[in-house]
Amino acid sequence: MYKGGRIIAFAALFCLAVLSPFIVNLANAAPAPETSLDTPAINAQQTKECVASTEYMKDNHMQLLDEWRNDVVRDGSREYESASGQVYEKSLDGTCLECHSNREEFCDSCHDYASVDPYCWDCHDGEAS
């Protein structure tokens, strides 16, 4: 191969440069976030139960909030019946954040880890910026 040595050397260098972020992160991966359920409203509950299973909420809480918003604003449907038969108000402020009042330990810990920056709190939870 014409100038084969150099081509292989530079190809290797290129691969190293492209993979460098992954290689750097291999060594110091951030630990998985710990979410805290230690709030007065949750502690006061006899059976600690959310509107849906933890697994479902972890994966789909954003879709659920989106559906709730459309249901309430567009269709005037304000009541949500969970799998256990409990009826909740479809409300971010009134239902979700009533229990999960510890934004930093609950919401932010995961959002920071996943590097997402939702703007829910710009308007909700009574926090004027």
Binding site: R69, V73, R74, D75, G76, R78, D93, G94, Y119, D122, C123, H124, D125, G126, E127, A128, S129
Partner: protein, 258 residues
């Protein structure tokens, strides 16, 4: 290709193109109704103009509304945000105003707010369907969808809509956590306290008005509003535009307190 074949092929292509256009939807031009509320109802207000001026406190009504809905007090009239406010009778009814109105009407202030029109022009122009009309006549907004284009503000003949030109946060004395605040670039207006109505309560302005603003179902002949309208002359703002406002202003012309 011969000239004749070329022309035939061209005509065939043209017809095929027209056929494709048939698939395009045509805009029907009607303000869309988008679910929500009880169908068949038509919520509306009746303001007793003369009694309002004698017995109601506009400042108190506005404070009740603006405080509960986290409406910022910006101060600058160019950027102010308002849901309900007082306006001289003459200015609100310029099109029907008389050269020689009664003294009481001449000095009267009327509460003005979103008219929750039957044919809302704001809904017609909104490019994102952020504003829409519920089945019970309430013209509502989904703040999440508003892109701040202000078409609705240009379309509304009542000036009932306000844009948040800046972050409203610093202009709120105290935030009521039961209602969301807004962000910069979002349009807002009176929502007729739709959440209170859904819960069977009266809108806040009606509660704070000492009974001078009536609220009820305009489709129900036995409702407070319809009974009041049966007994007295009433006007609506700029009906000639065909918007069909749901806010009536009742004028008794002195008979009630003669």
């Amino acid at each position: 290709m011969k000239r004749r074949d070329f022309l035939i092929a061209g005509a065939a292509l043209g017809v095929a193109g027209l056929g494709c256009l048939g698939g395009c939807s045509s805009y029907t031009g009607s303000a869309r109704v988008s679910g929500g509320g009880v169908a068949g109802r038509h919520w509306g207000f009746v303001v007793d103009v003369e009694r309002f001026n004698r017995e109601a406190d506009m400042g108190k009504i506005q404070a009740a509304c603006h405080h509960a809905h986290n409406v910022p007090d910006i101060g600058d009239p160019k950027e102010e945000v308002k849901w309900i406010w007082g306006e001289p009778f003459e200015a609100s009814f310029a099109d029907i105003h008389s050269e020689h109105p009664s003294r009481e009407l001449e000095e009267a202030t009327v509460p003005v707010l979103c008219n929750h029109c039957e044919e809302p022009p704001c809904v017609r122009v909104c490019p994102t369907k952020a504003t829409f009309k519920r089945d019970d006549g309430i013209v509502e907004m989904d703040y999440h969808r508003c892109i701040g284009c202000r078409f609705c503000m240009a379309a509304c003949p009542y000036g009932a809509r306000s844009l948040n030109f800046r972050d409203p946060g610093p202009y709120l004395d105290e935030v009521d956590p039961s209602y969301p605040t807004r962000t910069k670039g979002v349009v807002e207006k009176c929502m007729m306290c739709a959440d209170r109505i859904d819960a069977g309560e009266l809108p806040l302005c009606v509660e704070a008005s000492n009974g001078t603003i009536l609220f009820g179902d305009l489709n129900d002949p036995d409702s407070d509003v319809r009974r009041a309208l049966d007994e007295s002359f009433a006007v609506r703002r700029r009906t000639s535009l065909g918007t069909g406002p749901s806010v009536y202003y009742m004028i008794k012309g002195g008979e009630a307190h003669a």
